[in-house]
């Protein structure tokens, strides 16, 4: 709530060069992507943008970390950061909601309709005779898959279950690290935080392995009908978020090694931990609705 006894000392940075560099970087990347997708040029056209973006992330965060270390931020600024991060994570949740929505729509409406259930009997009768609504499916047109347009799926028991364990464990270790940080136990903090990002990268490794298998042996690809589409979009965006989260954990870990963060003030640590929990929860949704049910 309004807690502005120190409102006069709220830190307002002066002319920052980072945002404009960020905008230029994004613009370059997108021009590169447009050029690549339109087959005007190759992938290399991303390069300048990507380099600039990396420089930007490094520079912007260095600036802020520097300010933080010098004690520029009072509690109110800290509070702003926290709220900002919370709402950012909420926006990410809504991004995933779009893809979950697509999954539910396909499973509960479009595939049954194509199979002649509900209000769309004639759809099946006139256009797709013989198609039966089952899940998983690559649709009445048998899009993609192996040469005979069949495809295999990845059972929930196996790597996905293992990955679930890994992520849940990492959620635990990051909490332990947080407790250690608050208790001032730096050794324990370093250990558990290190474990967390290692678990994160392990998850990504397994996921990559699973993808390889799906592509090579199962005929399960992004282009394997609606099952492949929803499967890879959901797990893919999740995997991307895990990767980003793990990198952020690594950065935080390096900062811990440098002696950053105090038991009272450690916004960056908390932000990353929240992000990690968010990634965790999304995975649970995936595990249940994509792999299991």
């Amino acid at each position: 709530m309004s807690n502005a006894p120190d409102s006069s000392s709220y830190y307002i940075p002066h002319d920052s060069p980072w945002p404009i560099r960020g905008s230029v970087a994004l613009f370059c990347i997108m021009i590169g992507a447009v050029a690549y997708l339109n087959e005007w040029t190759g992938l290399w056209s991303f390069a300048p943008g990507a380099v600039l973006l990396a420089y930007l992330l490094f520079g912007w965060f260095s600036t802020v970390i520097g300010e933080s270390q010098r004690g520029t931020f009072n509690n109110q600024v800290d509070h702003s950061f926290r709220m900002g991060m919370m709402w950012f994570i909420f926006s990410e949740v809504m991004f995933f909601a779009a893809f979950f929505g697509a999954l539910f729509y396909a499973r509960m409406l479009s595939v049954p309709w194509l199979g002649g259930q509900g209000v769309k009997v004639f759809t099946n009768f006139v256009l797709w005779p013989g198609f039966e609504a089952l899940w998983p499916t690559n649709g009445p047109g048998h899009v993609g898959g192996r040469a005979d347009s069949t495809f295999g799926i990845i059972p929930a028991i196996g790597i996905p279950a293992l990955n679930t364990m890994i992520l849940l464990t990492s959620g635990l270790t990051v909490t332990l690290a947080h407790h250690a940080l608050r208790a001032g136990q730096r050794g324990k903090l370093t250990l558990f935080l290190g474990l967390t990002f290692l678990l994160g990268f392990t998850f990504v490794g397994f996921q990559a392995h699973e993808y390889g298998e799906a592509y090579r042996q199962l005929g399960l690809r992004l282009s394997t009908g609606i099952y492949g589409s929803t499967f890879f979009m959901l797990t893919g965006f999740h995997g991307l978020h895990v990767t980003i989260g793990a990198i952020m954990l690594l950065v935080i870990w390096l900062r811990v090694l440098r002696g950053h963060f105090t038991p009272e003030k450690h916004f960056a640590f908390e932000a990353v931990a929240w992000y990690w929990h968010f990634v965790d929860v999304v995975w649970l949704g995936l595990f249940i609705f994509v792999y299991w049910l």
Binding site: W113, L114, K120, F122, T123, F125, V126, L127
Partner: protein
């Protein structure tokens, strides 16, 4: 007050529109100025829709007259220039607020009931007597009388098609039914519940004939159902247009329905079926003759 005058004139224009409109404005709506309101159409459903439309319209007009009336009254009487003193104690009044929350709820429910009734009727696709598959494509319509082996395409007629070219130099006013005419209209019998199975071949189109009160999207890969029953005494030509943006020539894929008496329709169907069988056979023979030739 200019606002009031304008509103009054607009309202009267609107009201005049609803009164002066001929009972059924099918076949050419007359000049532009007189075309102000929705058609009543030639089916039971289209009339019910028209009634709903007028009902909600008048409800809105009445509410508008009351609300705008109070606003205009305030604007006129509570002017500072007339020495009005503000009553700054007037900041809220639970009773009044409760009234103006509940009254709209009641009005809306009262509106929803007839709308829901009509909707239920529209959605009742049982007991149809004739089924026609309608496929929208870029840019025209294909009609397929599923039970009778008759199928044909329907495109914008030649004359309109020529006149509508960029800078064609042809005055659209000189073209009969400019943009609303086709080469092969859909032929249906009157007084018959006709079921349409609407689908799209490439992108989404929408089959719309205002006089029937039917508008249904043609979704590729899915089939939507719609139906209409033209009044027994309303044989004639009815025109509509594609009502979903479908690319470059979206504006140039009209729909014309030729509603005929049952006997005329039966004759037409028999004729056309025979004709189409003949041409199909002829095409078959040419195909079988030419096929080995092209193999060389």
């Amino acid at each position: 007050m200019t606002i009031r005058a304008k509103l009054a004139s607009l309202a009267s224009a609107f009201a005049a529109a609803s009164i002066t409109l001929p009972a059924h404005a099918h076949e050419d709506g007359g000049s532009g100025w007189s075309q102000l309101n929705m058609t009543q159409g030639v089916t039971d459903i289209s009339r019910k829709i028209y009634d709903l439309h007028m009902l909600i319209f008048w409800v809105c007009v009445i509410i508008a007259v009351i609300v705008f009336g109070v606003m205009i009254y305030s604007i006129i009487s509570f002017r500072k220039s007339r020495g009005a003193i503000p009553d700054i104690t007037l900041v809220h009044n639970t009773k009044v607020e409760a009234v103006w929350t509940t009254v709209p709820v009641i009005i809306l429910i009262a509106m929803a009931v007839p709308a829901a009734k009509t909707l239920v009727e529209i959605e009742d696709t049982t007991k149809t007597e004739l089924t026609i598959k309608v496929t929208g494509f870029q840019w025209g319509w294909q009609y397929d009388y599923l039970d009778d082996g008759v199928a044909f395409y329907s495109h914008l007629d030649r004359k309109s098609n020529k006149a509508r070219e960029l800078l064609s130099g042809i005055d659209p006013n000189s073209v009969e039914h400019y943009l609303l005419n086709v080469d092969h209209p859909l032929v249906v019998p009157v007084d018959t519940k006709v079921r349409l199975l609407v689908t799209g071949a490439d992108v989404i189109h929408s089959w719309w004939v205002p006089d029937f009160g039917v508008k249904k999207d043609a979704i590729p890969g899915f089939v939507n159902e719609a139906w209409f029953r033209v009044d027994a005494d309303k044989a004639g030509l009815y025109r509509g247009q594609c009502a979903e943006l479908c690319g470059r020539d979206h504006g140039f894929m009209p729909i014309v329905v030729d509603a005929r008496s049952k006997a005329d329709f039966a004759a037409w169907l028999k004729n056309t079926a025979a004709q189409q069988k003949q041409t199909a056979q002829a095409a078959d023979t040419t195909a079988s003759l030419s096929a080995p030739a092209s193999a060389h």
